[in-house]
């Protein structure tokens, strides 16, 4: 087990910079998830840690040693691939023990390690089968088993669940978390699915365009996003962004969303926003769960208004509603009994205690 450090790591392909100087410290035993849209550089970063890609600049440190020029086999890492990459001509047991056999471990120890990993992953019955006789979920378990038996310093996962169907994905997600809790090996996990990132990670690294946008625990990213990108990427349905400006009205700060709609900023938020220029172009960031059906009495910091609903999506426990506000499509979550219907008018409450203000120019959350 070991910590992993990335120091100003750069990857250039000819003229294109895929990874633009990222710094990250991953402590021992931590489960870190890299998440971001395709082409953001997350897989490239993982492959650089694995040693499958050369790094153009910077340093990668595993367990205190700079490994820039160390070949993958000497980095003491194990990797699980999206398409499993099992050796098709070997049985499950042979697949799992391949690395140990290359390193000439004694037979008894190999068998013991394979049996233990198989038990942990519940694949003991499959040990003599060939990969083509296994289902997708079973294959991915074998791929994980192959990583576990090596007992490496670092586990690397490259979108391991992307090829599985939705139900199996949830199950395997649970499985991966359980295995990590048991073996406590430092883990770097890459996915484009923010739900996977939130559920698995000790810390999430959100990447965009070759850079790290923000690093934090799932809750930090959700409640205190640093940029508009993170705010929009984390959470489903994603955060609403509505163009707005700040103005003073009767000594209080208020936020103007349209010619006819303005709402007072709650006091504790107002103290924070008071210094912003009043003509600055801003965006109000508000999550769908903070736009709900209005109750008879409004809590402090909550404002109500009537909205003409475009579309409603009943989900059972709640109904998603969509309406247009000053040119932006806004999503809210209301109770199934609120009487929301397509084309109907509904009185909605916006909880501005949970608002974010985004500088339209820089994309940063203020």
């Amino acid at each position: 087990m070991a910590e992993v450090n990335l120091r100003k790591v750069v990857k250039r392909y000819d003229d294109v910079e895929a990874v633009r100087g990222i710094d990250l410290d991953i402590p021992d035993k931590e489960f870190v998830v890299f998440v971001g849209p395709s082409g953001c550089g997350k897989s490239t970063t993982l492959r650089m840690i694995a040693g499958l890609e050369d790094i153009s600049d910077g340093d990668i440190v595993i367990g205190g040693d700079v490994v820039n020029d160390v070949p993958p086999k000497d980095r003491d890492i194990a990797m699980v691939f999206q398409n499993y990459a099992l050796y098709p001509h070997m049985t499950v047991a042979e697949n799992m023990s391949f690395g140990l056999r290359l390193k000439k471990y004694p037979k008894a120890e190999i068998k013991q390690r394979v049996d233990e990993a198989a038990r942990m992953l519940d694949i003991t019955d499959l040990i003599n089968r060939k990969p083509k006789q296994l289902s997708g979920g079973q294959r991915q378990r074998v791929a994980m088993g192959r990583a576990i038996v090596r007992n490496p310093k670092v586990f690397l996962f490259d979108e391991p669940l992307s090829n599985l169907d939705a139900q199996l994905r949830v199950q395997m997600r649970f499985e991966i978390k359980r295995v990590h809790q048991k073996v406590r090996t430092t883990t770097v996990y890459v996915t484009h699915d923010q739900v996977e990132a939130m559920t698995l990670a000790d810390r999430v690294v959100v990447m965009n365009n070759g850079r790290i946008e923000q690093v934090g625990t799932p809750n930090e990213l959700y409640h205190r996003p640093a940029t508009r990108f993170v705010a929009g990427f984390i959470g489903s349905p994603s955060m609403n962004f509505i163009p707005c400006t700040l103005e003073d009205a009767a000594g209080r700060l208020q936020i103007r969303l349209s010619d006819t709609l303005a709402m007072p900023v709650p006091d504790q938020k107002a103290a924070h926003y008071r210094g912003i220029a009043r003509d600055k172009k801003l965006q109000l960031g508000i999550r769908p769960e903070h736009i709900t059906d209005a109750k008879a009495t409004l809590e402090p910091g909550v404002s109500a208004f009537d909205a003409l609903l475009d579309v409603t999506e009943p989900m059972g426990m709640e109904t998603l509603i969509y309406f247009n506000l000053n040119g932006s499509e806004v999503c809210g979550r209301v109770s199934p009994n609120a009487g929301a219907r397509d084309g109907g008018v509904l009185r909605l409450a916006v909880d501005l205690n949970n608002m974010h203000l985004i500088d339209e120019g820089t994309g940063l959350v203020i």
């Binding site: 098709p88 391949f98 060939k130």
Partner: protein
Amino acid sequence: MASTLTIDKAAPRRNPGYGSMSRDRAWALKWSYFFLTIFAIFSLVPPLYMLVTSLKSSQEISAATNPWWVFHPTLSNYIQLLTSNQFLTFFFNSAMVSIFVVTITMLISVPAAFALARMRFWGSATLATGVFLTYLIPDTLLFIPLFKMFATFGDWSGIQLINRWYVLLIIYPTLTVPFCTWIMIGYFASIPKELDEAAIIDGASWFQTLTRIFIPVALPGIIAATIFAFTVSWAQFLYPLVFTTSVDQLVLPVGIITTLIKGDVFNWGQIMTGALLGAAPPLIIYAFLMDYYIAGLTAGATKG
């Protein structure tokens, strides 16, 4: 009967949704069978004629009877050939040449293809194309300079290679190695990249990745290349005709022609028998290897 017909008309059709599709398919199948039959007849007639003629005596061959029928079958041609030392020498030479050439070819082209397909190095793509281009030069152009090269080499070093059967071990790979390398590059390229990455992370060297992962996984491709190399070296005619002249150095195709045609006398019965016997080993090898050849070994490696 009339009532049955009306009931049939009223009954629902058996293939309601995809009727037209299955009609298309039936039509396509009919034509495939038609052309496949014509093609099969076309390619089976010469061997059949060889078989028929090989069972005839010289008198019957030259008699004006139906050439497609044997009236007095005899095995004398077979007995004569199989008891002739000459023919057995040709057979032995051919076997030695083919076995060695196949071995040499695979020892060179499998690692070469692996290097060109997987070990990305500067110029590997150009080199791969270059390998294929060398195959495109016909042997009818190459045999004169090659002959000159071996003659000069013989004068210079005193090692005489011309008119020795083993000179073919050096010459045939110029035909087989480029093509087999090309086949294997294609086959190796179809193996998912993650498989060698997994092996490398598991601690395998390039050589171990080749021997323990790629060769077993690419076995169907390797067998295809082996069959090709064997066929080329077994059936090659021009090079042995040019490079070997003594009767004890000849391989089968050239041996049959040079010893069984005397002046303008064609010993058709034995020529046909020799050709038929010569065609047997490749046929047996094909039949034996066909199962391996078809089996898709990569199934299950990655998401299918």
